[in-house]
Amino acid sequence: MRDLNDLKVLPSTRIERLRLILVFWIFSSGFIYVAAGLLVRQWLQSGDLKEQSDSQSRRIILKPPARGRIHDRNGYVLVDNRVRWSVKADLSELQPEFQTEYRKLLAAERARETGQIDREKIQDSARLNVLQRWLDKVWFVIDATSRNIKKNKIPVKSNPVDSPSERLVKIDDLRKHLRERRALPYTLVSDLAFPVADQSITTEEGVRAVARFVEQFPVDGPIRLDSDIIRTYPYGTLAAHVLGYVKDTDELPPNTLNDEKNELLQKLHYTGKKGAAGIEESYNEILCGLSGWELWTKTSAGYNKELLRKSDPTQGSFVVLSLDIEIQRAAEKALAQIKDSQGKVLPAAAVMLDVNTGEILALASQPTFNPNRLADRVTRTYFDEIETSGGWLNRAIQGLYPPGSTFKVITAIAGMRNKVIDWDDILECGPSYRVGGRDFPEHDPAGYGQVDLEKMLAVSCNVWNYQVGLGVGIEPLAAEARRFGLDTPLLQMPPSADNKNTTELPFPANRGLVVPDTAYKLRIGAGPWTGGDTANTAIGQGFLLTTPLHMACVAASVARGETRTTPTIIHDPGRDARHQGAESIGLNGLQLAALRSGLNRCVEEGTARSVMIPGLAFAAKTGTSEYFQKGQKAHLAWIIGYASADNPAVAFCVLVEGQLDTSTWGGKTAGPVARDMILAWAKKTPVSEVKPEVEEPAR
């Protein structure tokens, strides 16, 4: 056995001991450093490091919610959602196919010996080819019927020359998708039920296409059936201007995700929808709901790997409008029957509102559009079609027109309030009236002779209004118009965005309203005010500009004996009947009675007698104003009023823009629309209140 000392394991000299101690401390320091580092990393920095690690290996995908429904006052669903079936390709599952195709194309390229090989281009082509093959298979299934298969009639391969665009995978779309949303499935067919944009197919055909894919396409594979919710407008064009439409957005509604915790995580999102017009836009925050989210781990190539957690989106709240679908339908149907000599629908608007609450029962404008065709994919053709026809404009609240003879109601009130005329005063009204060296004509060349207030309203005498208007003067006349709110935009944006309980409708404000006076004419550089300007204003012509909604409010205010009506489109059964800024009309009982009697006589024996409804008395004032279209004079047909005459419940206004070759008159053209709206309202009103003898009198 060897002596242990011979091994020299332990230091025997002082130097060796010192060396050992030195080595010991060097190693100890090293270990302490490593241990301390570990401690710091594992304990103190663990949270931050985990966050960093998560942010690199996880991602959040936000999913848009279904929007809330929009109902009419009786609960009918005016705007709903429908499921949209789409076909999507899972790109991560297609990787092996992409690789195989890439190798095949690369080999072919090498065989051609064309010099430098563009590998990126080959990769794009490989992806495109694979996806195109799958898209062809999808179309093969949704298009193929047994009969066609038997006859070998189904095109199997698409090609860029002959195939319609929806059958082709577009390389730019694919590149964009891979660049921005690689983790999300790539959409091959965006709407299975309506696969071809701008082509009308029956609902049954659409359902068959979905059913064929569901039952025939292999379930296990990279091609998936996906569903999301999109907007649908069950009544098509009905109330389109009120309801508006939706458009794509990348700004999704808020979600329930703890943003602080997940701030560092990469976020992707599906395309959402937001309101682009009408109620859809103005009540977007209420309708939009809460986005859902999915937390995924991701692969190094950027595809999704495993779903860790998810939260479903929450549907938005519903909105109940004050519209009554039956009255709205009647208004739109009647408007659609007003056509020019070439059979083209004339631009027009109709409004009916509740006299007491100001709730709008019908608000129609034509030409219009079908929001269903804007809800998903808007084609340039359809967009241009609406643009050309002027269909975007909501004429009922945005159209600015001279009110014509319907303004004579205001002139009469101004005359009585300014003591220029009383209810029983009679004025001599000839065929014209001379103002400032110019003859202002009566619309009946024979004149009306002796005319009092009632007769003026019944026959719409111009000369009476010239005299009264000039007697009142422009400033008091303008003040009276302003007292009725003709210079105040209606349905404005709520004062604050947080005030979600507002009942106002933030449609684009009807700016550009004009109640002219001397200052206005000077301001626009049209020179000093003249008597002729006052005469024109007194009959609702000249510089005056207003909207059909304003005139409907004037009718409602007169029906209540007040000056202002605050219209609203939101239904509230407990609504306070007080109207903002409203005051008494300022006439005595006899004056008010005469005013109302004149409006009744307008229907019974005057300019609106052609639309009289036997058994249902209503009050109205017609108007036929002039405006210039393409430098030539055309007519605007107006009618305002309320029903019933004795117990006013609804007020209305109809406007029709006459064309150059169309003779358009208030009673004859606009009257039938008002009558149809009144009949639709009467049908829904308790029999004890209203009892028309004939429901649908011949025109």
Binding site: A211, V214, E215, S227, I229, D312
Partner: protein, 293 residues
């Protein structure tokens, strides 16, 4: 001892070589091997199923004459009722023919019916798949609907020479469109099988049920095929809708659970409906798609 070690080494080497060959083998070799294995297994399946039938036969044969007499009496009654039904159906058929002649309508017969005995359940997916004792040689093709009486059982997914595999309605690989009893507007819903483990319960989901759908009072609503997808004839019962229908969080639709027919779990015989003209899906499944045009 060295010899033993060498033997052990050789077996390891052989194993790894086999695994490597299997991995490197082209897909057609692997598919061929699998197919050969299935065909090799088929006689055993046939044998087991026939043995089961034989056991059933002997079980019935061991019944007493009183029991057989009672069963025979019951059967006679059922026969009488069925005969009446057959006559009624014959009347309807004749009327149908008469009307078709009047309208000069010649509807093609869309399906051939092949009756097949169930050989076994696929043990790897107990609730999802059954194996039938008929296959390609009997004219069965992939994608064919499989029914029992007027109930949907599933769809043929794989066809071998003498057997075929059927995805049951509870299989995640099964999906079809359906109508719900009581929905007068005839809106389609989506039926799809759900994954379940061997000890779990077979389930299928019914999705996209309209929110205003109300099931008939006091009974489970029948779920029937639409006939729109080109696979299943219209009006076959898939099952019933569980009473527990819930609205999805998104709020636009409801979803519920499908209660499949009890027969699904005690199947002995089914009918395979072979379409006369192949559907597009069948062409995709058979991988004949590329050669189609």
């Amino acid at each position: 001892m060295d010899k033993n070690r060498q033997g052990a080494k050789a077996s390891y080497v052989a194993f790894f070589v086999f695994v490597a060959l299997w991995i490197l083998a082209p897909s057609f070799v692997r598919m061929g091997t699998r197919e050969a294995f299935v065909e090799f297994q088929a006689p055993a399946l046939h044998l087991v199923a026939k043995g089961r039938d034989l056991a059933r036969f002997w079980e019935l044969k061991s019944k007493s004459s009183e029991e057989l007499a009672a069963a025979s009496r019951d059967l006679a009654r059922i026969n009488a009722a069925l005969e009446l039904k057959v006559r009624t159906l014959e009347d309807i058929r004749q009327e149908n023919i008469r009307l078709r002649e009047l309208a000069r309508y010649t509807a093609p017969r869309e399906f051939l019916t092949i009756v097949a005995r169930v050989a076994s359940r696929d043990s790897s997916s107990w609730w999802h798949r059954i194996i039938l004792r008929k296959g390609r040689s009997d004219g069965i093709r992939p994608g064919c609907p499989v029914v029992f009486s007027d109930r949907v059982i599933g769809k043929v997914s794989l066809v071998h020479l003498n057997t075929c595999e059927v995805d049951l309605v509870t299989s995640p690989n099964f999906r079809c469109t359906a109508y719900l009893e009581g929905d007068e507007q005839g809106r389609i819903v989506l039926v799809s099988g759900l994954p379940a483990n061997s000890l779990g319960t077979a389930r299928a989901k019914i999705a996209v049920i309209p929110t205003d759908y109300v099931a008939p009072a006091g009974q489970s609503a029948k779920v029937v095929t639409t006939g729109m997808g080109g696979v299943f004839p219209a009006g076959l019962t898939i099952g019933t809708l569980d009473s527990n229908i819930r609205t999805t969080q998104e709020g636009n639709f409801k979803e519920g659970t499908l209660q499949p027919s009890r027969n699904l779990f005690s199947l002995q015989e089914v009918s395979v409906l072979v379409p006369i003209h192949p559907a597009a899906g069948e062409i995709l499944l058979e991988k004949r798609y590329e050669d189609f045009q």
